[in-house]
């Protein structure tokens, strides 16, 4: 267990190091941050002076060395736009993104499991064909369009739900503010969550369906039928548990990647999370923030993978997380 966690920690460090190196290599092609700080009529000399002051004229090695030196102390630099440390900015945007991912995850779980299971046990029914067809459509419609469509229907025409932002927030702890405990906050969460889940939900339905189909064809399920068990017990207790095992691995990682998929959804709904922040940072050439975000997302990927492995080991009695055969 300790070896496992140490290995993962090392992996995280390596991933973050490589990402930062790539980020630094490409940062100059992302635009000129100085241009974004000054008005258009400001002279070239003024801009040059500012560039010099920010250390943007230093050689690559010097700039990267400065970054690494800060990074080992947890300092990823200063965002040009927010005028705050990159880590502070990211952490302040994290709750919004996590809540959005949480909302989308709930939707995915509540819909994908019953629908996926239904499709597996009734492969020939018209409803299954409809669900599978609809899921293809769901995958192929861009998130952006889904968002605008929902916004138009539920916001503009029906006027049920708010179309942008997080609504009323309550401070939970430190900079952590949540919209999960206010009605207004929850109402604001609905459309973005549906939009974010629109891509993953069909994938999960298909995943659960195919895993469940496989499980239903397995020997132990056949044995369960031969034992004279009730069909509901076979489907929902035995087969479902076996189905969820691979789904958790694949799905868990997917949900981790959803943190990165929030970019479009957050942009459409003006959701003040990390994804939107990242897109804005790109538009503003806020390079420290761009690199910081990429490094952070790398870390999240490693963390989710680790969590998924831990959960898997916890559920599957045959796996010892200690691993390392």
């Amino acid at each position: 267990m300790i070896i496992f966690l140490l290995k993962r920690l090392l992996q995280a460090v390596v991933v973050m190091f490589i990402i930062s190196l790539i980020g630094f290599t490409i940062k100059d092609s992302l635009g000129d941050p100085v241009r974004e700080m000054v008005g258009e009529s400001v002279s070239e000399e003024e801009r040059e002076a500012l560039r010099e002051k920010l250390g943007l004229n230093d050689p690559f090695i010097v700039q990267y060395g400065r970054f690494l030196k800060g990074a080992v102390q947890g300092d990823l630099g200063q965002s040009y736009f927010y005028k705050k440390p990159v880590t502070d900015v990211i952490l302040s945007k994290l709750p919004a993104t996590l809540e959005l991912v949480f909302g989308a995850t709930l939707i995915i779980i509540f819909f994908s499991v019953p629908l996926g299971v239904y499709c597996a046990i009734k492969p020939r029914s018209w409803l299954t064909k409809f669900i599978m067809g609809a899921s293809i459509v769901g995958i192929s419609v861009p998130v952006f369009l889904t968002g605008i469509f929902l916004m138009f229907i539920f916001g503009v025409i029906l006027d049920y739900l708010p179309v942008f932002g997080r609504g009323e927030l309550i401070s939970v702890w430190g900079p952590w503010e949540t919209g999960l405990f206010t009605l207004d906050g929850l109402a604001h969460l609905i459309l973005p969550s549906i939009t974010l889940s629109s891509l993953m939900l069909p994938l999960f339905i298909r995943l659960i369906r195919s895993e469940m189909t496989e499980v239903l064809h397995s020997e132990y399920i056949k044995f369960a039928w031969a034992k004279g068990l009730d069909k509901y017990r076979i489907w929902f207790r035995l087969a479902l548990k076996n189905t969820m095992l691979p789904v958790i691995t694949v799905g868990g990682v997917q949900i981790g990647t959803m943190v990165a998929y929030t970019i479009l959804t957050e942009t459409v709904f003006q959701w003040p999370g990390m994804g939107f922040m990242f897109l804005e940072a790109i538009n503003r050439s806020d390079t420290p923030l761009i690199i910081g975000y990429l490094v952070f997302v790398g870390l999240i990927f490693v963390i989710t993978n680790t969590l998924v492995d831990l959960i898997y080991g916890f559920i599957d009695p045959t796996i010892k997380v200690a691993g390392g055969k």
Partner: protein, 578 residues
């Protein structure tokens, strides 16, 4: 009145290409306490009958005709709710592979209890008691502890005992055992068969035992029904069928069983098979590419001298990792293993699963590095070579696995699969030459060169094994390591493959390391043999000497456990081998 009566059963599998008839006009009966053996090769329809009786045919299979009566009540075409009451409660089922038939995520207790509670009207408490009782009856030690464990914590044999316990837990009148011992080691096989037999007799439970193994039939059945391509060709008492078979298929099936008692030159073929395989074409090796040597070949060794020397090889696997070395747990997979293989001979490694025989094969092939010890191939120490230096040697040592399908890229055509190593080791000049070699190889293993354009999934298990042999030959190896090459195959196909290997050896002067758990096969194939257990070699001798006068107790025990074919008289059958 018979316990189970099957009359004129017909089973079909409709598909887009028409209706395939899997079983046609099959009738038999089973009496209480009687064990009926249903024997035949794969595709004979024997398992389909078992599934049809409890209405568990996999879709789109359906019973197209005939009736099934249980205790006089017609149980074919019953509504789903009624047939469910029969499953488990009236008819228990034992599956082939205890590894896959138990749900890995539930404890043995949960799996036993759910069966009891679903079928019997008992309290939770008494169900628990009964579950414990069942485990005890099937001979699981310390049942109180074991019952709380998960299937993966049991060995294969123990798991099958659990399977039997579950099948019997709701006191059925009939059990259907579908190849219950095929996946088990020889020593366990016998125990399980005896367990089934004793339980059936004690409880007066009828049993249908589906198997492809004549040895099993001979061992425990009372009566036998022989299936061939969906038809029941012959039935009678076990003694009658084994000693006086009437149908030609039965005769040839019996004769094809590898014999443990005497070594024959070739394996008798099941010559009743209508679509006999293409005879393999001879190649004039001295003039053919296969007979040539390439610059990278290791200097050849004269026939009868040591080609391979394995000296004091040790290898451990970590079973529990830990930061501190003292907390780690290992399993000793190879324990001071030494042997030599002479040029041109077939050297056998025999032992049960987990004995380390496959591990040593992988060490020789360079898949695992040994922890200590040395391996010489044609007097070069290959265990000390770098990956680069090893490459020409690796080419000359090829492996044939039990399940060739998993080692073939399903998206590649057979001709490309075989050509790959020729290109990789640059063994032929032009593309045209390679195509010709591949064609010759396919001819040679009896598939015909036209097979090259097909994909692996279009072939049966035996044909795939031929492909993998062709692929192994494509590097012109000196040493062929065969790891259980026929364990997954039917007797008739096994005979073909093993004969092919023998022929190839004669023709190409191949040296073989032959690994098997099957003693009769070892006796027929090998010149010398080593017996392994727990990573150690216990005994090593000329094959004939070892079979006639085994020295080690374990060897004696193994030989004693070979299913007795006492009933079997092969006289009169020998004629057919020609």
């Amino acid at each position: 009145m018979a316990l189970l009566e099957v009359n004129n059963l017909k089973i079909e599998f409709p598909s887009r290409h028409g209706v395939a008839v899997a079983v046609e006009d099959v009738s038999f009966e089973v009496n209480p306490g009687e064990i009926l053996g249903l024997v035949g090769e794969s595709g004979a329809g024997k398992s389909t009958i078992g599934n049809a009786i409890i209405d568990l045919l996999s879709p789109p299979g359906r019973v197209a005709g005939g009736d099934v009566f249980l205790k006089g009540e017609k149980i074919s075409s019953l509504p789903a709710s009624r047939i469910r009451q029969i499953r488990g409660a009236e008819i228990g089922f034992i599956f082939q592979d205890p590894m896959t038939s138990l749900n890995p995520l539930f404890t043995v207790e949960e799996q036993l209890m759910e069966t009891i509670l679903a079928n019997l009207d008992v309290t939770q408490e008494s169900a628990k008691q009964k579950a414990l009782n069942m485990l005890e009856q099937v001979g699981i030690p310390e049942p109180e502890i074991r019952i709380k464990q998960y299937p993966h914590q049991f060995s294969g044999g123990m798991r099958q005992r659990v399977g039997i316990a579950i099948a019997l837990s709701a006191d059925p009148a009939l059990i259907i055992a579908d190849e219950p011992t095929t996946a088990l080691d020889v020593s366990i096989q016998d125990q399980i068969l005896q367990l089934i037999r004793s339980l059936c007799k004690k409880r007066q439970v009828g049993c249908i035992l589906v198997t492809h193994d004549m040895g099993v039939i001979a061992n425990i059945t009372d009566r036998v029904a022989v299936m061939y391509q969906g038809n029941l060709v012959e039935s009678g008492t076990t003694e009658q069928i084994l000693q006086r078979p009437e149908h030609p298929y039965t005769k040839s099936l019996i004769s094809a069983v590898p014999r443990a008692d005497v070594k024959l030159k070739r394996f008798p073929l099941v010559n009743y098979i209508e679509k006999a395989s293409v005879g393999f074409s001879q190649i004039d090796v001295s003039n053919h590419w296969l007979g040539q040597t390439s610059a990278s070949d290791v200097s050849s060794v004269a026939k009868g001298e040591d080609l391979l020397r394995v000296e004091h090889v040790n290898l451990r696997f970590i079973t529990k990792n830990a930061l501190l070395a003292k907390n780690r747990r290992y399993i000793q997979a190879s324990d001071d293993v030494s042997f030599t293989v002479k040029k041109g001979e077939t050297f056998g490694l025999v032992g049960e699963s987990g004995s380390g025989k496959s591990t040593i094969a992988r060490v020789i092939a360079g898949i695992y590095p040994p922890e200590s010890g040395r391996i010489f191939f044609a007097d070069q120490e290959i265990s000390a070579m770098s990956e680069r230096e090893r490459r020409p040697i690796r080419r000359q040592i090829q492996m044939v696995f039990q399940n060739p399908y998993s080692s073939m890229n399903p998206r590649m055509r057979v001709q490309d699969i075989i050509a790959e190593p020729i290109y990789f080791h640059k063994l032929a000049g032009s593309r045209k030459e390679v195509e010709m070699i591949v064609g010759d190889l396919l001819d040679h293993v009896g598939l015909g060169r036209r097979a090259g354009i097909k994909f692996p999934h279009e072939f049966s298990g035996g044909q795939r094994q031929r492909i993998s042999i062709a692929r192994a030959l494509a590097t012109r190896p000196q040493l062929l390591i065969c790891d259980e090459p026929t364990s997954a195959l039917d007797v008739s196909v096994q005979a073909q493959i093993l004969n092919l290997l023998k022929d190839l050896q004669d023709e190409l002067g191949l040296t073989m390391l032959f690994i098997s758990h099957d003693l009769p096969v070892i006796r027929q194939m090998c010149d010398r043999v080593s017996v392994m257990r727990y990573g150690k070699i216990l005994e090593q001798n000329e094959t004939e000497a070892l079979f006639i006068s085994p020295q080690h107790d374990y060897t004696k025990n193994l030989l004693a456990l070979i299913p007795h074919m006492d009933h079997l008289s092969r006289e009169g059958l020998m004629v057919q081998q020609g």
